[in-house]
């Protein structure tokens, strides 16, 4: 996993609530057996018409907006456990997702792929979405070490929560498998004692 410490980037405002993982990556694109290439079909049915032409009104098709940060409405990532949703967002180029609420499984999947979910209050999220809509060039600063999210233009100076263990994993580029393998003996002792 890639290390994550700081990021300064423009952001894409997606003012839709309850974005479920079927929208992020529809099931018909889950047939791949590797993790590569899902970005192409990210938000497929919102981005493209049935004939493959672009839906101009969708924010990802609007040249004004770009960047490594996606700012989305409440309850982002609900539904299916497909990690392909996190892979698709990352493959497309996002490193940070900001919302006022994340579904549990999605949040875990994101963190396991070096994609940082940042939760802020609904009030601040609304303000941020509105500002970004009219100010696409504005740059957000994300500082993971100090757990800060900054956007000076709207006096956004927000500290965010993250599980200390997960923070350590992101900063060092470590993952849970390394850790669990290091606990092999303890796990085997538990198995013997339990059964």
């Amino acid at each position: 996993m890639e290390k994550f410490t700081k990021l300064i980037s423009q952001a894409v405002p997606l003012s839709i609530e309850n974005v479920d993982t079927d929208q992020i990556i529809p099931a018909r694109f889950l047939k791949a057996t590797s993790k590569i290439g899902f970005g192409e079909n990210l938000f497929r049915d919102w981005r493209y018409n049935a004939d493959g032409s672009k839906k101009e009104s969708f924010v990802l098709n609007d040249n004004k907006y770009s960047g490594k940060v996606l700012v989305a409405g409440e309850n982002f990532g609900c539904g299916s456990s497909r990690e392909h949703a996190a892979w698709a967002l990352e493959d497309y180029g996002f490193k940070v997702i900001i919302s006022s609420y994340f579904a549990d499984i999605f949040k875990g999947n994101a963190l396991n792929n070096g994609l940082l979910p940042i939760q802020i209050t609904k009030e601040k999220l609304t303000k941020l979405l509105e500002f970004l809509k009219d100010n696409p060039k504005a740059e957000l600063q994300v500082d993971l070490e100090n757990q800060m999210l900054l956007l000076e233009a709207i006096q956004l100076n927000e500290s965010f929560d993250i599980d200390p263990y997960k923070k350590m994993c992101l900063i060092n580029g470590h993952d849970d498998i390394d850790f669990l393998i290091s606990k092999k003996e303890t796990i085997e002792a538990f198995e013997t004692q339990k059964h």
Partner: protein, 461 residues
Amino acid sequence: MKKTLFDKVWDAHVVETVPNGPQILYIDKHLIHEVTSPQAFAELEQRGITLARPDKTVATADHNVPTLNQHLTIKDALSRKQVEMLTENCKNHNVTLYGLGHKYQGIVHVMAPELGITQPGMTMVCGDSHTSTHGAFGTIAFGIGTSQVAQVFASQCLLLNKPKKMRVTVNGKLNKNVLPKDVILYIIAQLGTNSGTGHFVEYAGDVFENMSMEGRMTVCNMSIEMGARGGMIAPDETTFEYVKGKEFSPGGTDWDRKLAYWKTLATDEGARFDTEYHFNATDILPMITYGTNPGMGIKINENIPTSDDASFEKALKYMGLEKGQSLINQPINYVFIGSCTNSRIEDFRLAASHIKGKQKATNVTALIVPGSQQVAKQIKEEGLQDIFESAGFEIRQSGCSACLGMNEDKIPAGEYCVSTSNRNFEGRQGPGARTLLASPLVAVLTAVEGKIVDVTELELA
């Protein structure tokens, strides 16, 4: 200290607590399928490691399989590759596979309980959010991502923070024509799709105590639709009766020992929950959804609510429905009875009992997709197949099918489908498809009438 059912099962599986960090939770049973496992096997191979406990892992092919001609080579090249890769991975890593053509193949959440793989007091995971289904047995069961599938492969454990606890109690006598599906659709409509986030739910009260295991599975299955990681029901005589004598259930003295333990699992009187909700059974009526998330549900005889919220309006626009409109008499061209929510034998017995001697409406395509080969066999043996076929329903082979539109079984754009599945998200059943979630009773009567009918007051045999 007084403990809940959830505490008892969770605490018995904690290997170690990381200082200021998560806990290492031991997993008793790992179910895998073709869609969310290939990248996890690849991860193991990249690291040059093997499965820690292949004997605690069971595989089946369900999400991406055709429901016609399963004995033939799969036509779609990508689907075929995915299913073949599962076969190859299971062979290379000594994992038991109930693949296409095997008598135990089926939707992972139908197959495992009916074989006795699912047992009370276990921890179970699968790379599928509806793993919550197995909570019906007093099991901690939840969906995981592919990175976590790889973690369980590598260590038989997961690193997790203990979720909060919620209890949903429903007491009283259920109204006429109200099925377990209506109970859970009602709860989600009342509480909303993110009410359970960060929580594990326990369903309590006499409504659940009086439910069959099939009904309890339908309820626990949809826990994820209110955002909860899982839902569970305390094991009781109904549970023990169901588990006893199944293919992989314990036998002899092992049964007695386990049964004695299972009987200790119920929540202690006075144990604390972080969140509690209470509902009266008499308030629940047959339900249906009108929007694009499972929380957008109404009693079938109510009108669609009105709201100026942008997300609400977007949902109604997608569905082609109006604020304040009634759904009664809404023409419907597709009916799907299947999915890990409602594809067990009890669901098909009920559906068949209401169409005996009748015909589906001519405008309707009605699809019956059994949850497993075993259910398909029962449908045949009990004479239900004849009833369905005489009524013009199409019976397919087992798999996830039109629940998620991964294979050919899709609902065309713009068409309405009354579906017994679990998600009505935009495009879930195919691009542009419009899903209305309901019970098998509402679904089967819709198929007969060709439109939505008010089942609330219907006198049914």
